[in-house]
Amino acid sequence: MTQQTSCSCGETASKRKVLVYACSGAANVAEIADRVARQLTAEGLGQMFCLAGLGAGIANMIQTARDADLNLVLDGCPLDCARLIFQNAGVSNVHIIRVTDLGIAKAKGVPVTDQQVQIVLDAARQALATA
């Protein structure tokens, strides 16, 4: 079976190059961020990219983030780990969404609800429409 791949040059589309990151922490708010990042990717609104790669200082991945038109960063809580990773990497074309700013409390061992994911998803879609 041959896997069908497509060119990512955007030759026929004028879409912005948007990368999406989730803070990938352990709490519920991080799970929400992860689910939203994957949903945005599934909808074609951006491409999820690996925050850990930037945190590890992998030069090629940092360059990729710099070359994006926009890096949409989903931080779970006020520790702002993802924002700090971008700050340390010197990448500034960033829009940050913090899940706890949207009225969702940080907790561990608490199941995430679809409604919570929807709240953040709506905020992310809005941000992509205006950022």
């Binding site: 497509s6 990512s8 040059c9 090629n60 990729t64």
Partner: protein, 77 residues
């Protein structure tokens, strides 16, 4: 000798980047080996999400765009 790699599946933009890069390298008079990396799985190993991309000695210099000649010269220098 520099190893210059053009990352992309072979569309018009990728070919343009290859042409521009060749022109830039020739204008600079540097010794180089140009390689086209066209397989997605190989491209992904570079950590890029957007093609075409230009890597010099394994380091990605730019991705998702075709810079002008002077910019490419600067990236190769």
């Amino acid at each position: 000798m520099k190893t210059i790699q053009i990352l992309g599946t072979g569309c018009a933009k990728c070919q343009k980047l290859a042409q521009q890069t060749t022109a830039a390298a020739d204008a600079l008079g540097i010794e180089y080996r140009l390689e086209k990396v066209t397989q997605i799985d190989q491209i992904m190993k570079f950590g890029v999400m957007f093609t075409p991309a230009l890597a010099v000695d394994g380091v990605v210099k730019v991705s998702g765009k075709v810079p002008d000649l002077d910019t490419i010269k600067a990236l190769l220098s």
